[in-house]
Homo-oligomer: 246 residues x 2
């Protein structure tokens, strides 16, 4: 039974149930995805290079060290992006949300793996045709730079978290960061859905599943969050932010 008197049946939280469209011009992520930099004609051209794909929960979209033949833009759902060590240790390097562009790599192979958490819809481009399309479109190239810069900046913030923060700070930072990312893509507040499991959170934060679980429990005991099935509710955002900042 849960500690702290919260043994009632947990409220179920779900996430990002959008409608599906088939044309780029009224795409769900049109405003903030890679294609935000394009005009109508270009959009139509790019549409002809793309196809939508639907992934079942748990599907691997692409695997580390395989040939990087495609790029993807997330339309719906969440991907976990991770790298594996030869002995099976896993580091999740990020979660991709609607609007995120995934698969850009320096090398001809993917440098990490990506799989679907829950159902996912992707916009797929062949690497070659995408590169050809981008080649002489400075506006588009600048847009790619912009997204890559944002990605890099997130990676740097994550290095600080992994290298220099305590377990409690890590979990609090994760919750605040997740909340902010959902807010960016326009998700409701109040309750925070966490579609990924504890193991994913652990592998994202460089912790074990037990430590994550204990830390969630501690945050709940301290009145900072309320644990729900499939998510949490942020009872004391200010305190969580304080933990997450310092």
């Amino acid at each position: 039974m849960r500690v702290g008197g919260h043994s009632e049946r947990r409220v179920k939280v779900s996430l990002l149930e959008g409608s599906r469209r088939q044309t780029c011009s009224d795409c769900v992520v049109r405003g903030f995805a890679i294609c935000a930099a394009l005009d109508k004609t270009e959009l139509w051209e790019l549409a002809n290079l793309s196809r939508h794909i639907h992934c079942e929960p748990g599907t691997t979209v692409f695997a580390q060290a395989t040939m990087a033949t495609s790029f993807f833009s997330v339309l719906e759902g969440v991907l976990r992006l991770y790298k594996l060590l030869p002995d099976g240790r896993r580091q999740i390097i990020g979660f991709a949300l609607p609007g995120d562009f995934v698969g850009l790599a320096g090398s001809p192979q993917y440098e990490f793996s990506a799989d679907a958490i829950g159902a996912v819809v992707l916009c797929q481009f062949s690497r070659a045709s995408f590169a050809r399309f981008a080649e002489n479109r400075p506006r588009f190239l600048r847009r790619i730079n912009e997204l890559a810069g944002r990605e890099l900046s997130r990676a740097q913030e994550h290095m600080v978290l992994l290298g220099r923060r305590s377990a409690e700070e890590k979990v609090a930072s994760f919750l605040i960061g997740w909340r902010d990312r959902l807010a960016e893509i326009g998700s409701a507040g109040g309750v925070l859905p966490l579609p990924m499991g504890r193991l994913d959170i652990a592998d994202y934060l460089g912790l074990t599943i037990e430590t994550v679980s204990r830390t969630f429990t501690k945050l709940e005991r301290d009145g900072i969050i309320r644990i729900l099935t499939g998510g949490i509710s942020l009872l004391d955002a200010a305190r969580a932010e304080a933990l997450s900042a310092a």
Copy 2:
């Protein structure tokens, strides 16, 4: 006195003593820096936007959260790039070597600080004029993408290191990675100069200075490295690589 019978006076190792030129076309880093994508005319134009600056050891080139008015390309020496937490904890997110381009940020403020380790020569660009120069040069923009992608890929590898590797693996990975980066820019082998101090290494690896020192000593006891002042010699590269990979 050193453990293991290595108490003789240590050999001093120094690094990257190149000659200085004032024109772009025979710049030391011409082959692999950002400007590798430019033709003669463009190079001349870009040269007019840049000035060389020399930094004393320890100088801060730019500080986190200040206005990002300039970009830099490293010509000689090494910069440490780091983020600070409010309470003073530091995470070094990378070392910038000759050819590296530094200061690209999503935001108008620098997202990390950079200071010189030893003497450093930089090629400085004003952000605004650099952006204007790049704006309509797809080749140049693609070059920026390429460098940013490499940077991102390094950051991802570093997240795995910080989140999922033991102290010994961290130190071994650092040494192998450093060796490979020096090799890329054409540095001699045999002895590996380490211009940064133990504290820098610790803050890069998410460890304390004591743990780094103990780990160096252990690697030396195990016959994998030999500790020299200002560097190490890799006695058993294969064993170090094994530690660093798995």
